[in-house]
Symmetry: C2
Subunit: 335 residues, 2 copies
């Protein structure tokens, strides 16, 4: 299953810049796959891309209209439908990260069949999967893990892919969440698979590869998150990582959405992740830390990263502020 | 969702006693809920229950026909269908643990609607669930965990329920697998929920209760099983156990179905389970060991249990050979 690229990014008529997070992520990481943006009259958010009508976008090669904004409740508003219809009639596939399925709207499903295009409901795609088997496979794998949800695992994975490719390393980002899947054009929404198949999904996502090929696997959740740790552990086992990159947000006091649940210490979190990884990857190592330091001054951020690097003996950086070169270098040198 | 009891246990025409494992489990643990058995002419397996025709079973109060035998491939054989039809026409619900869904057979679905009975596809029941929140709730909870799959977690849970009830403790078995669900008449097949909801399912399964009420929650898989550990961890977090009972098979060399994967040591497994449990249950403790010793002599079994009990300072027993009184006593005394 691959979502045909390049994309036309549909922003609807949103006014909250945060609502366009997915579209922005695609544009930041795959600008060459974004032909332009398409907006409704009252939209106040822009990605800085050229505004293109459906027909012009198709003429410029756009293969898929991406519904790249989140909507309250995850529903497709009635007044967005016309644009979706036009895209289908113009021969474009449509990809959506909304809760409501495009394929559940009979009119769109019929139209897609008529015009021979595909509808991709990212959140709901469940490929037929085997259960995991834990057998060792060739190729190198890095998994981003975290002290919590929403601490920058996707950003870190994509930044690492870019830095490693710049060094000439054969590297592929492997997506496990919906924005990541749209960025990569493929992947598995790992939190949407049936529980029995989490590890199997991670194995299928990062199959055996050439010995010098690197998969950078997007982590999800945290072993210490009371809601999602099962997903994190299955992903950890299936990924069989040679290296872990620990993602963290400086100053976060409690687990996201759970004010009663204090955040784990970096030390406990690193130990638990290494220990759990050893079940399928005996020689797993920590490659470094990617820390979101946006809450403090640059000086304080540097000081904190230095302190973490000293404590654990591996690079620690804020990939947004300071780049991720140190971790890419370590992986390049130590293989 | 509760499966109406008592049951008529349908054995089909199986000839392999192991194929009737589910039916046997129901009969062993809930004899009072088994009105009788129903077999096809060539069936060589018996539970020792009275053979009853559909009509007689209904007259004696049977509410649900249980397809209690596994079939190669998990399909419902054509020549079993007649008996299922008769049951529906006689007003019985039908519960199945087969992969193939009863509700996917249009004729049965229509018949069930006509006769106002329900079809229960145990493997596929997915109640609408919230994600887990890890908030502390009242009541006492025991979770059975294990070094592997198929080491007796269900048996141990049910044996413990029986032993605690005998002591007058308010106790409920909480089922997470299909046989357990048929025994209890309710539960959640935890390996069949969407990955994001594993912990939420476990929380829903063992809700807040009276302070002196005990839930005995049926564990699944193992934190060290490369295929299913995600399920085990989500269940562990959602269960919020006060006590763990570690289940193990003496002499098992490798993880079930994975000959390349050696079994974890009891010590590592206990430590990992306690550590992971503390994420949602700070004061979790080990209540004891339930060990399947069927591969060795009774003398050797006693010696091994003694040795484990000494090493860990808690009771260790084979619940089939020696009962589970020691663990029930510990829970009763230490609360």
């Amino acid at each position: 299953m691959a979502i045909p690229q390049p994309y036309l990014l549909f922003l609807g008529d949103v006014t909250d810049p945060l609502a366009a997070k997915t579209a922005r992520g695609i544009h930041v990481w795959r600008p060459e796959q974004c032909v332009g943006q398409n907006r409704l009259p009252n939209c106040t958010v822009s990605l800085g891309l050229e505004d293109l009508d459906i027909d012009i976008a198709v003429a410029r090669g756009a293969k898929t209209l991406v519904l790249g904004t989140a909507n309250a409740g995850g529903f497709l508003p009635e007044h967005w439908l016309d644009r979706v219809r036009s895209a289908i009639r113009a021969g474009m596939n449509v990809a959506s990260g909304l809760h409501q399925r495009l394929t559940d709207i009979p009119e769109l499903a019929a139209l897609a069949t008529e015009f021979q295009v595909e509808l991709f409901d990212i959140r709901h795609m469940r490929p037929a999967l085997p259960v995991g088997n834990g057998k060792w496979r060739s190729g190198k794998r890095v998994l981003t893990v975290g002290t919590d949800c929403s601490v920058g695992k996707m950003y870190t994975s994509l930044a690492l892919e870019a830095a490693m490719r710049k060094r000439g390393m054969k590297t592929d980002f492997r997506a496990t969440g919906q924005t990541g899947i749209l960025v990569a054009g493929e992947g598995i929404a790992i939190d949407a698979v049936i529980a029995d198949f989490i590890a199997g999904a991670a194995e299928a996502l990062s199959p055996a590869n050439e010995p010098d090929h690197w998969d950078i696997i997007e982590g999800q959740g945290s072993l210490y998150h009371p809601s999602y740790a099962g997903v994190s552990l299955g992903l950890l086992h299936g990924a069989q990582p040679h290296w872990l990159v620990m993602c963290h947000e400086l100053g976060r006091q409690h687990t996201r959405h759970l004010p009663h649940h204090p955040l784990v210490s970096l030390e406990d979190c690193v130990q638990a992740n290494l220990q759990a990884s050893r079940v399928t990857s005996a020689d797993v190592q920590l490659a470094g830390f990617a820390i979101n330091t946006s809450n403090v001054s640059e000086e304080k951020a540097r000081e904190y990263c230095r302190q973490v690097a000293t404590q654990f003996g591996v690079p620690a950086t804020d990939p947004v502020r300071f780049g991720i070169e140190a971790i890419a270098t370590l992986l390049n040198e130590r293989g």
